[in-house]
Amino acid sequence: MIKTRYLLGFLVIGAFVLGACATPAAEAPEEEAVVQVDPTACNVPVPDSPVTITYFGWPFEIMEFYADEMEKCGEVENIEVNVQFLDFTAVNEQVDLALSGGGDSPYDILHMSNVEVSNLGNNGWLFPLNDLIDKYRDEYDLDDIAAAAFQGATVDGQIYGIPAINNTLHLAYRSDLFEQYGIDVPTNYDEVIAACEVLADEPSLDYPFTLDLSADWAWEIEFLAFARSYGTDYLNDDLTPAFNGPEGVAGLTKMKEVVDACMGPEGLAGSPYETAEVTLNTGGQAFIHIWASNTVSMFDPEVSDFADVIKFAPAAAPKPGSLLGGSAWTDYYGIPLTTQNDPELVFLIIMEALDKESQERGADFGAVTRSSITKGLPNKPALAETIANGVGIYDTHPAVPLAQAGLMQFLPFVGTGEMTPQEALDAAAEAYIAEATAQGYLP
């Protein structure tokens, strides 16, 4: 019996080793013979020796489209493209981890939102793209992408990212309910509150309207819009906090008014963007304040019960007549400074995915960045209007994340009434000052 036990042991270990050896770490792509020059294919120069390009980002429709375009470059000889997707928080944690130590970067193409570009750029971990942009400006018509979009990825004059998509927060509403109750599309939050009061007793609804105030970072995003609309920003020029001044308090007070009129303390926790999207699609809400990237399902009858009646409008203005309450977000593609591959090759792969021909096809999936492309999703006008007249982008100064952190700690308490707006903002300012002093931004 001992013999069979050893036999079994050998068999198991052998099978195991076979399995481990037989599975390559990354699979080689199949080579396809491309006979005619295909504008949709990847047209980058063939590198001298085999290279592996790793893409790292989080997935949603338009980004998956871009990633697929980049994967086509794997059909070029000697190039292999690895696409790695994780969720948003995990991607950022990993990138911080990988780039902070200064060693070789495992990633070559980084998908970043403007907040990350700003952070990583400030830390000096990204490859400056100015020279490459100048070199290929004409070939890929980079002037087609708005200069303002590049601005969001620029730190101290160095451009660190190529704009890939535009995003913002705007309104999506049930035009049938609005018609039924005689409501005009709200242009500011006073009108939003009025609409909530009219819709308060509609039996099919959980709540008339929600903003996402379910998480600490969600409060902070909305607060930026309200604060700026009321005329203040996070930090003064000398980096002392400005958000707890009278304008900031006015903005936060207006947020609380909206919460009380439309959501109630109950709606606070139940209002995340994904949930709101589903609830609007299934008839539980009349209108919502949502990301443009979350709206793809709303005009798809395969997903939404109300696809034919959901319409879009620009974000409402927190202060009547002032800036619209949607901040401008752009997602970028960038290259880490410590990439193990030739930055120019990586840049070209990105360019191939963002060229006019690709973005023309990509416009079916999301808001692409080239101005020359006219077609777009049904919410494109609302998106464009909000970006044009909205509160704009986050500052790229490295002290801003510290202000954000302070705000995230205390803003949510305003919703439940545990703190007054002034108290919350003062507490946040205190936390910011402590941290900013410790990190050397304040004396």
């Binding site: 099978a15 989080w58 981890l97 994904e274 299934t282 019960d305």
Partner: protein, 335 residues
């Protein structure tokens, strides 16, 4: 414990068991239903229990493109698996020993896993699944072997060194996972073993040692010293006595611990994410479907990922719980 014979008591017993089983498993069965729905059906405000199921979510997860002869291939695969199951069930009647049968089944499964990509165009999720199998099994083999020896020593040795070892092990285990992030990333880069199966197996085995040692030690303490001592009097070395006498007695305990180690390795998220960039396990890979800020995610796809991850483990548990249920061979452990 002798079974309760009284019929009314038996009825309440089964009722209680059913309530408990349902609370444990209903969320999973609901998720399974969700994974067979379209996005519209899955997010409906009123839960839908009767619907036309679709395998779209699973094929989106596992396959890059759906081949035309999918049904033929699927039936073929099911036929082969059924044959293996029949072999396993009727092993007694076959002229070869049990061990050979088990070995054959294992080899057959490995060959199937290796051959599947040759027939269908599998997506990266399949590769990640293979990684998961390799890493989990590797961790179990390494961890259990090494930990049983140590746990046995801890159960038998009374002295300061034993206490120190346990304290150190528990101190290691108390460290939050996040503290491992930076040191392990650096370690992976410096040794050049970043993104390899070897590093993953070794690291996960190491991180789980305190847990495994501690549990095995508790099981070993249950066995009286006289058992290996009488084997040693008969001329066996301590190691020999351990392998030949103690281990067979302890088998259900070892199986139970091996199951936990398998589950822990299978579930490991943070360390795999840190130590690998293309060699992920499915615990990491499935998080890409979770959605998040400004990203909708697809509920049925998430459910399909959760179910895909759970089913292999469930099958393993179903196979090995027989060992647990068999109980100790009577007479080996006397009062």
């Amino acid at each position: 414990m002798r079974p309760i014979k009284h019929p009314i008591a038996r009825f309440f017993l089964h009722l209680a068991l059913w309530i408990v089983v349902l609370t444990s498993s209903i969320p999973f069965f609901w998720t399974f239903l969700q994974s067979l729905k379209t996005k519209k059906q899955a997010t409906s405000r009123t839960p839908i229990f009767l619907f036309k199921p679709t395998l779209d979510n699973f094929s989106k997860l596992w396959l890059k493109s759906v081949p035309d002869n999918l049904e033929v291939l699927a039936f073929g695969l099911i036929a082969i698996l059924l044959t293996l199951i029949l072999i396993a069930v009727f092993a007694k009647r076959l002229p070869v020993s049990r061990a050979v049968v088990n070995g054959f089944i294992v080899v057959a499964l490995v060959l199937i896993l290796w051959a599947i990509p040759k027939f269908v165009n599998t997506d990266t999720f399949y590769d990640y699944f293979i990684n998961t199998v390799i890493v989990s099994v590797g961790v179990v083999l390494v961890s259990i072997t090494v930990a049983s020896l140590s746990a046995f020593a801890l159960a038998r040795y009374v002295g300061l060194a034993g206490v120190v070892l346990i304290l150190l092990a528990l101190a290691f285990r108390s460290l939050p996972r996040i503290s491992f992030a930076l040191p392990y990333y650096w370690m992976g880069q410096i040794t050049g073993l970043y993104d390899t199966h070897f590093l993953l197996i070794l690291t996960l085995a190491a991180v789980n040692q305190p847990f495994t040692i501690y549990i095995l030690r508790s099981f070993f303490m249950d066995i009286p010293r006289e058992i290996e001592e009488s084997a040693m009097i008969d001329g066996a070395s301590r190691l020999g006595a351990f392998v030949r006498v103690i281990v067979p007695i302890m088998w259900p305990g070892i199986i139970a611990t091996a199951l936990f180690t398998l589950v822990l390795a299978y579930h490991e998220y943070l360390l795999v994410r840190i130590l690998a960039s293309s060699n992920w396990t499915i615990a990491v890979a499935m998080t890409q479907y979770l959605g998040g800020v400004s990203v909708s995610g697809s509920l049925p796809l998430q459910s399909a990922a959760a179910v895909s991850g759970a089913i292999p483990l469930l099958i393993v548990v179903l196979i090995f719980q027989k060992q647990l249920v068999k109980g100790l061979s009577a007479g080996a452990v006397k009062g």
